[in-house]
Subunit: 425 residues, 2 copies
């Protein structure tokens, strides 16, 4: 019988997992510096939790089933509903609540480029702050993550505000804003002509459709474009004032020129209530690397008080594609500080003693477990990426010495047994 | 509508997760020093993978269901079958293969003390080595983990060898070894009298039952008890020679007196082929904290070549119970290096600038996101466990200064703005 992992699921061997850990480590290091705290929530929740926010259609794309107790349950496709559930029940949390978590998510979808059935995702949220400062902080985290992953040259951080888009549409005399925004959200799947045709199909006059085209084409340096929009909307507009404040705070973070305004960013229809943003590769080849925004009405849906929220999620699948393409995916190799090589069974216990002492110093140390000869052991030491090999031989031992071999240079040195720990650590 | 997490599933708030992380970190630090490498495998596998090893009865206690493509799938209750699957398909791995992974497992069981439906487990295995050295290494890892978790005084590491038990039974003239071992495995659920009765019920004469009672009562210092068994079995017995070697190697690790021989340890019937061990709290109140052994025939079952294996697993539920009981569970609190406190909106950007600089130094820093007054901010700083608060006020700023408040002592110092990073980091 032959067994395989299922389509859309991945096995990570040590070299692969070490690279992935390094990526998570860099993301989480940034997030922690900003004062976000790790939480952990169940992988399995009652299905009704996901129906609140997403409706039945999205739940259809999850791993949902009836458990042996007759409960309808879902392997979480995202963590936001669980966070909202927890916030609704934990009334004593001091706000702002700043949470992150890197864990697995599952979706029952056709697997394709950038989309798997099991993937890792880091979710980062601020709950309980409706300030523009909290939005700037979230954007600063995103920009720093991009820097840490060494892809800053290859991506655009595209920001919009749903309210601003609505107001601009209104100002331009577009009445059915909701349907128009739905169409804008579908825009990237269409050609320019199809998009125009679709706008006309949903009832816009050609002039109106042209105006919408103009609006969604606004894209460029954040500050410049905010001022461009200013000419369209009245200056007293609250959202615009907020966006100008956002620019000012981004300046303080030194990242105002790292963010673009893109009036075509909508991110679906329900859920988001203000700021929305996405990170795309400049080539436009890949799916969004990261996305988020403000969703002030969500927690209330889950039975809690009204709690404003802003956050984002970054998955491991698309960022890996991008980092590999850009040649910055961490090197996939094994690393070992020391391999201790007993040349024969007779010196095994002495070798073990050295092994133990070096491990006690915190070094990663392996030794022979298969009673192999010297050359087989050297091969293995090489395979596990040992930096140094300590050769424990009978003759050397009689003089109280062992040989330390530097694997990269091949240099060998005979040193006194008493000095091993001191010299090697 | 009110939502809750399901019975047997846990929500971990930041304080709780920080403590759990610390426990995982200590376990993994030990494991990594011994040269074990992290792997990661799917959480969902085809159900047939679990039927190979465990039979239908155990699969009944899993979360198994039919996915939307009609595949019977199982949320993994353990990682060993997946490891065997991977080993069977990856033919080019250099042996010994030393893997660990800390991840979630699921069981559909009645929840009770020490048993939840979702739990974390660290699995540690050496594949490809049948040596007694590999068994000693696994035991050394277990003992060091116990030390790192500060529970060494409260637990017993109980070791046995299934082959030795079989040989001793044979030597004592017991014929139906399999049924007797099944009964021994159930022994802890019975009183002394019930156990004796059960042995008679399965067909042993009273003398034979007494002999079995004697054998399973052998429990004590590893070396002493091995010599006690020696008197029962012929000295040339291979397993006994191996156990004496094991003792010798454990001496080299300095842990021979940390391990007890306990002839009643069986660990179920199929699966294990030699060494078996369990870690129990000395009070005998809790379930096994950790268990493992040698299982040389498993990988072959999954279609691979024959690969010897020895390993163990440690879950998070029982170890937490024990560490809490012993008062050594890590403190559950939030920690923050610095809170930067702008006394008014006017100095917000200056505060942000300081915040950014300190974060760039790798410190965990928070600042105001809710436009709060000084006292509300100090409360929050206290809540997040800030070590220091930097108070940014207009008057101080005019002199190019800020105030640093040490939260524990309450001491305040006025320092120059230029020195902030230097003084605080």
């Amino acid at each position: 019988m032959k067994f395989e992992s299922m389509k859309g699921f991945r096995d990570f061997l040590p070299e692969e997992m070490a690279a992935r850990r390094e990526v998570f480590r860099r993301i989480e290091r940034v997030v922690r510096r900003f004062g976000f705290r790790e939480i952990d929530l169940p992988s399995l929740e009652e299905m009704k939790l996901f129906e609140v926010k997403s409706g039945e259609e999205l739940v259809d794309q999850t791993y949902s089933f009836e458990d042996k107790g007759g409960r309808k349950v879902t392997l979480i496709p995202e963590q936001t509903p669980s966070r909202a559930r927890l916030l609704a029940s934990e009334k004593s949390l001091n706000q702002p609540v700043k949470w992150y978590s890197t864990s697995k998510r599952w979706r029952y979808e056709q697997t394709q480029r950038g989309r798997l059935r099991e993937f890792y995702q880091t979710d980062v949220d601020i709950f309980g702050a409706d300030s523009v400062e909290s939005e700037a902080e979230i954007l600063a985290v995103v920009v720093e993550i991009i820097d840490e992953l060494e892809v800053s040259e290859s991506v655009d951080v595209l920001v919009n505000d749903r309210k601003l888009l609505e107001e601009v549409l209104e100002n331009k005399g577009i009445e059915d804003k909701r349907t128009v925004m739905e169409t804008i959200d579908d825009r990237e799947k269409m050609s320019k002509e199809e998009f125009f045709g679709e706008l006309v199909d949903i009832g816009l006059g050609k002039d109106e459709a042209k105006k919408v085209e103009e609006i969604v084409s606004i894209k460029g340096k954040f500050g410049d474009k905010v001022r461009e929009v200013e000419e369209t909307v009245s200056e007293k507009n609250e959202t615009l004032v907020r966006m100008k404040q956002l620019e000012e705070i981004l300046e303080s973070y030194g990242i105002a020129d790292r963010v673009k305004l893109d009036m075509s960013i909508v991110r679906g229809l329900d859920y988001y209530t203000g700021l929305v943003f996405e990170v795309f590769d400049k080539g436009g080849e890949l799916r969004a690397i990261c996305g988020g925004g403000r969703y002030d009405e969500l927690v209330e849906l889950f039975g809690g008080q009204s709690i404003p929220a802003v956050g984002f999620a970054i998955g491991d699948v698309v960022i890996e594609e991008l980092m590999r393409r850009e040649g910055v995916w961490p090197e996939e190799r094994l690393r070992t500080d020391v391999y201790v090589l007993p040349v024969s069974k007779d010196v095994r216990n002495r070798a073990l003693d050295i092994t133990k002492k070096l491990r006690d110093e915190g070094l990663v140390v392996e030794t022979d477990l298969k009673d192999r000869n010297v050359s087989a052991q050297l091969n293995y030491a090489n395979y596990i990426g040992a930096e140094r090999v300590i050769i424990v031989g009978e003759r050397d031992l009689k003089q109280g010495k062992i040989t330390v071999k530097e694997m990269e240079s091949g240099d060998e040195k005979l040193i006194s047994l008493d000095e091993v720990v001191e010299k090697v650590k």
